[in-house]
């Protein structure tokens, strides 16, 4: 007889792993007794049925209006269409990256200006930040789209989209920077000043390196949010992903299909970016802890 001393492979079954989703609030409840377990079982059955019915209803609504026919969907298996959408996605990413690359440093400068002790700097910066955070991006885009031609200034479509996005988002990013600086313990600044550093030296060597690390997660998620702002290219007829879907849908009479496909692409792009950001963040924060 052989006795295996190996520990069994720790692998939780799928049901357990699914069951643990969103269970962080379990402390609110007592451990369910037999009666409660029965009720939970009944609720599980009923809610499964209700959810299935909801899905079935949606599918039926698509089907009876002929929107599930293969003709309407097979478009998205054709290479030229896929290439067209890929170009749209690329334009979306381009808008996101360029506006992020401009808005981040601008936001940092604005935050520094607002934090400075000179009223000549901090008053205008505060005004800019507060006002720009309270204006809809669409209004700003319309103002650029319709206002600029009257001044005789002509700028490419790409920049008509980028400039308003950068203007609003730099204000939002500036507030994220500033709140990180504010969140830093006062003792850090005091210590730096006490060892004889000047204001800017303190900022550069003590405050900012820590503040940027603290603000990193919020900054990253704000930059990912730029992906959403890029859809306003739809308004200025810039061929990013959403406007590409509109053109495609109207041209081929596959309106709902095009928007659904593009929505799925946006969800995937967004979740991918968030996952990548999470990875980078973990590495970044990990290093910060070690030093």
């Amino acid at each position: 007889m052989t006795v295996t001393t190996e520990a069994p492979v720790q692998r939780r079954p799928l049901t357990v792993r699914l069951g643990s989703i969103g269970q962080q609030d379990a402390a609110l409840f007592d451990v369910p007794g037999p009666q409660a377990q029965r009720r939970i079982a009944i609720a599980t059955a009923l809610s499964s049925l209700a959810l299935l019915a909801l899905v079935a209803l949606a599918v039926r609504q698509f089907a009876i209006n002929g929107q599930l026919e293969w003709d309407k969907w097979q478009l998205f298996t054709q290479w030229p269409v896929l290439r067209y959408l890929a170009i749209g996605l690329l334009a979306t990413l381009q808008v996101t990256v360029v506006s992020g690359a401009l808005a981040l440093p601008l936001g940092a400068l604005l935050a520094l200006a607002r934090l400075s002790r000179s009223p000549l700097l901090n008053r205008p910066a505060a005004l800019y930040i507060e006002v720009l955070r309270a204006i809809p991006l669409l209004l700003l885009i319309y103002a650029f789209l319709l206002g600029l031609p009257t001044t005789g200034l002509r700028i490419p479509l790409f920049w008509q989209l980028i400039i308003p996005i950068v203007l609003t988002n730099s204000a939002v990013l500036a507030e994220i920077f500033r709140s990180a600086v504010k969140a830093l313990p006062q003792g850090q600044t005091e210590a730096a000043l006490a060892v004889g550093m000047g204001y800017w030296q303190t900022m550069r060597l003590v405050v900012l390196p820590q503040a940027i690390r603290m603000a990193a997660p919020a900054l990253v998620s704000q930059v990912i949010r730029l992906l959403k702002d890029s859809t306003l290219g739809y308004v200025v007829s810039y061929l990013e992903l959403l406007y590409s879907a509109k053109v495609l849908g109207e041209f081929n009479h596959t309106i709902i299909q095009s928007y659904v496909v593009v929505a799925v692409v946006f969800v995937i792009a967004n979740l991918t970016l968030a996952a990548v950001a999470g990875q980078v963040e973990r590495r970044f924060v990990g290093r910060a802890h070690r030093t």
């Binding site: 609030d25 609110l28 006002v131 959403l242 659904v260 969800v267 967004n270």
Partner: protein
């Protein structure tokens, strides 16, 4: 400046429609947000999975994509409603996910020990929720909810992009086409939005201070 003075009524009506859209959206998103939150923390697995999936999915969609899908897509599957309410529906479904996140953060903010203490002295689940958790969760949620309301108002302008031109941004665009004085018209509209955000921010601050718990 005359453009603004002559068209005060237009701005007023636009502002009113914007406020109506935002208010309807905020209330509907609140109701759905509460429902989503309840589902997400419930011990019933399918509800929890569906609600969590919904929040993750919809939160990563751009609002404008959801709006175009609803306004131009729904008629394709035979669901035709008034334009304004279609837009409100799309926005409510979108903001409900953020509402749910805010509420959950508020509930999470209540220290675990308080909940355990309440259960230890024999409070039922309902009592724990209404006597201990919610009074504190609501207080800490005031500022985040005010920020959410401001975001809802600012983004209600997106309705103009899908054809609901009665609201403030849409009206401003129409006025601009008529008078071609962009600086004045867009400036006035911006002032309206800034004033709204200012009032909400200030009220939330006052409310927050009034209701703050001294700990």
């Amino acid at each position: 400046m005359d453009v603004v003075v002559d068209n005060l009524g237009v701005f007023g009506r636009g502002l009113l429609v914007s406020i109506q859209i935002s208010a309807a959206t905020f209330v509907l998103a609140g109701l759905l947000g509460v429902l989503l939150t309840v589902c997400r923390i419930s011990p019933v697995l399918p509800l929890r999975l569906a609600a969590t999936g919904y929040v993750e999915l919809v939160r990563s969609l751009p609002l404008l994509v959801l709006l175009t899908l609803f306004v131009f897509g729904l008629p394709e599957i035979g669901l035709i409603g008034p334009l304004l309410w279609t837009a409100v529906a799309a926005m409510s479904l979108y903001w409900a996910t953020f509402f749910s996140e805010t509420l959950r953060a508020g509930v999470r903010g209540v220290p675990l020990g308080q909940i355990e203490a309440a259960r230890a002295i024999g409070c039922t689940f309902g009592q724990v929720l209404t006597q201990v958790v919610l009074p504190q969760a609501v207080r800490t949620s005031i500022q985040p909810l005010a920020s959410l309301l401001i975001a809802v108002i600012l983004n209600s302008s997106l309705a103009a992009a899908v054809g609901v031109t009665q609201e403030l941004t849409g009206q401003t665009q129409l006025l601009d086409q008529r008078y071609a004085q962009p600086l004045v018209t867009f400036g006035a509209a911006a002032a309206c939005y800034v004033a709204l955000a200012f009032v909400i921010g200030r009220s939330a601050g006052i409310l927050d201070r009034r209701l703050a718990v001294q700990r």
